[in-house]
Amino acid sequence: MSEARAAILGRLRRAAPMADAPAPDFTTLQVRRWEPAERLVKLRQGMALVKAEFLEAGPEDWPRVVADFVVREGLTSLLYGPDTAEGRALAAAWPAAGPRLVPYDRPVEAFKTELFQDLQAGFTTTLGGIAETGGLLLTPGPAEPRLLSLVPPVHIALLRADRIFDTLWQAIRSLGWNQRLPPNALVISGPSKTADIEQTLAYGVHGPKRLIVCVVAS
């Protein structure tokens, strides 16, 4: 379809040059800043509003907090990425007679049906969060595949309290996302939801029914 390409771009280039559009002024986003402690409060407010749930933990004991939650909720399995530092810490602290801790270590094609039908929860790390609106930043990839945070009905995400950015705009700049992005990056603010039936909010329409954020104090 290179013919179509040439024709389309040809027509676009035929347009008279625009009068210089005013350069966008990003000041309104630049001035949105909060103290570190306030950032966590704002993030929690924003995400609680859309039904995200929170666990609190310290830098050492978070694997136990996560395991306790999984046991307490009667979840029978937790899928995780075994090749991250956090994945190793989780495996090391996992109770011997506890729920199944399943490593995501094969191509999805090898266990797609099990993933969709049997596994009850998925665990991921995050790059951080967004204070202004709430939201977690994730870059799925080889260590933590894309479907880990999407297919199991419960998603447990680890958030370090000192990794909360003021705004999405600031996160994009700080993470260098203007220059380079991995094949997939995303922001998640709560469990999957819809309001397509009479604008009535319903959770868990396609993706996770619950999002649990385990906040690790710095």
């Binding site: 379809m1 290179s2 179509a4 389309i8 771009l9 027509r11 676009l12 280039r13 347009a15 008279a16 625009m18 210089d20 559009a21 005013p22 350069a23 966008p24 002024d25 309104t28 986003l29 859309v50 270590d105 094969r106 999805v108 797609k112 969709f116 967004i130 709430g134 990839g141 080889p142 595949p145 894309r146 999407l150 705004t167 999405l168 994009i172 700049r173 996302w177 203007n178 220059q179 992005l181 991995p182 094949p183 997939n184 922001v187 603010s189 709560g190 469990p191 999957s192 939801k193 819809t194 309001a195 397509d196 039936i197 009479e198 009535t200 319903a202 868990g204 329409v205 396609h206 993706g207």
Partner: protein, 477 residues
């Protein structure tokens, strides 16, 4: 895809107005959406600054459109996303079909995409033996009932939950009748998760495309967008060529304006950035990602300095939520893919102002849409421009069907009007006749009947303003 059909806006809007259920459903929904949006823009200064930024980003992106499209293509290609171009919806349909056929795909799961509605993709694929299944809950509902979206954000907004409950109990296997929204949602979840698991390919739209990094941004709440783009082995994205911006940073204000304007949310559940297929070492994600860039008359709109503002649109739907016409007649009455004020300016430009100039009159020019547009599209001004395009073949205009809506009778009446206005004695005589003769005109007279069918006939003053002024001794009247 409505270009070939007989469209009659007067008839369809009259039908819609006579449907009390439809009017109740829309009134309630639009009131809800307006309140939710207002709640998120409580600070007028913040709103003004952010929307000025949003408008500037869109205007600047359009000013550099050919260059940005070039760069988007180069960077997508570098990332492993294959880029295809389509001048028409027909070309786009054939491109998608070939991609699917070459891979032996029989089933396609779809995330929400208005461009695919423009293409009429589902029907086209069905004709070629490929099942295209909508997975956005609203789209799924209307597909079950063989309907088209009545709103660009909330496609099933014209239905209430009783209607949906009946539909599900009739169309979904083993479904029990229930009016509980949570249970209805769970039913759709059960059906669609199985479909995601089995689908041969996935298709999505694109909310924003980023030239510098070759990135496709998808904004959604349900997770069906992520399911459609990450689970099947092939992902095909379709986008209108105007969607591109330079950097991801440019997307930040647009995303905020979009979610707040559309559904009154500070942020959506998912903001998904796709910059390539499954990479080295990755264990999931599609093996291939394809991007189809569609023109469909956009490049003609682009060449008109005034009409180009149409292409700033980020498809938030706020203009329809606030439109007194849309709220009363709903989306289907427009008989167009894009209803409401944005549809009233976009549809005549895409399908031809000759066939769809009726839509440019689907507005009282109250400008509620202009006030809430997050990227400051002067919709009312463009409506007036297109009304003129419909009846005048303006020089240098590229609007399809320009001048074809001209009627000899209407032109004659306007010429007579202009002539009377230019001749004071004629004007005075007609004013005298109108004030004296008005009473003799029966309320049921043709033309007047449209007004008096539901209202009393207005009374005319016995003497016109000019006469009264003259009697008071006002000079030069």
């Amino acid at each position: 895809m409505h270009g070939d059909l007989e469209v009659d806006f007067l008839a369809s809007s009259t039908r819609a107005l006579a449907n009390p259920q439809l009017r109740t459903n829309f009134r309630r929904a639009m009131d809800g959406l307006m309140a939710k949006r207002a709640n998120l823009f409580k600070d007028p200064a913040e709103w003004a600054e952010l929307r000025a930024l949003g408008a500037a980003v869109r205007a600047q992106s359009l000013a550099r459109l050919p260059e940005l499209l070039d760069r988007l293509e180069a960077n997508c290609t570098r990332n492993g996303i294959q880029v295809h171009w389509a001048e028409t919806t027909d070309q786009a349909n054939h491109l998608v079909l070939k991609l699917l056929q070459d891979r032996g795909a029989r089933t396609l799961v779809k995330g929400k995409s208005m461009v695919s509605e423009e293409m009429g993709l589902n029907a086209f694929l069905a004709d070629h033996g490929i099942e295209a299944l909508e997975s956005d809950l609203g789209e799924y509902i209307i597909q079950l009932d063989d309907e088209t979206p009545s709103h660009i954000i909330m496609p099933a907004i014209h239905k209430n939950k009783d209607q949906i409950a009946r539909l599900f109990s009739e169309k979904i296997k083993h479904a029990q009748y229930t009016e509980e929204v949570d249970e209805l949602t769970a039913m759709a979840r059960a059906v669609l998760r199985q479909k995601f698991l089995e689908a041969d390919a996935g298709l999505s739209g694109v909310n924003f495309a980023v030239a510098d990094t070759g990135t496709l941004c998808l904004v959604e709440n349900e997770g069906n967008g992520r399911m459609s783009t990450h689970v099947p082995p092939v992902h095909i994205a379709v986008m209108g060529l105007e969607k591109v911006v330079a950097t991801l940073e440019d997307v930040a204000p647009l995303y905020s304006l979009l979610t707040r304007s559309a559904t009154g949310q500070a942020i959506t559940t998912y903001f998904n950035l796709i910059s390539g297929p499954r990479g080295p070492g990755e264990l999931d994600g599609p093996r291939e990602v394809h991007l189809v860039i569609l023109d469909h008359n956009r490049s003609n709109i682009y060449q008109d300095a005034e009409l180009q503002a149409t292409l700033r649109c980020i498809r938030c739907g706020a203009c329809m939520n606030h439109c007194p016409v849309y709220t009363r007649i709903g989306g289907h009455a427009y008989e167009a893919v894009y209803p409401g004020p944005i549809g009233a300016i976009l549809t005549p430009q895409m399908e031809g102002v000759g066939v769809r100039h009726d839509l440019t009159h689907a507005s009282s020019l109250c400008s509620a849409c202009v006030e809430v547009c997050p990227v400051q599209i002067p919709i009312a001004r463009l409506l007036v421009r297109l009304r003129r395009e419909a009846t005048h073949a303006l020089p240098e205009s590229l609007v399809e069907g320009r001048g074809s809506g001209r009627s000899a009778l209407e032109s004659l009446l306007w010429s007579a009007w202009a002539w009377a206005m230019g001749h004071p004695s004629v004007y005075r005589l007609s004013a005298w006749c109108a004030t004296r003769g008005w009473g003799l005109l029966p309320a049921g007279a043709p033309v007047l009947r449209a007004w008096t069918r539901t209202r009393t006939k207005p009374k005319a003053a016995r003497r016109g303003l000019q006469e009264l002024a003259r009697a008071k001794g006002v000079p030069h009247v």
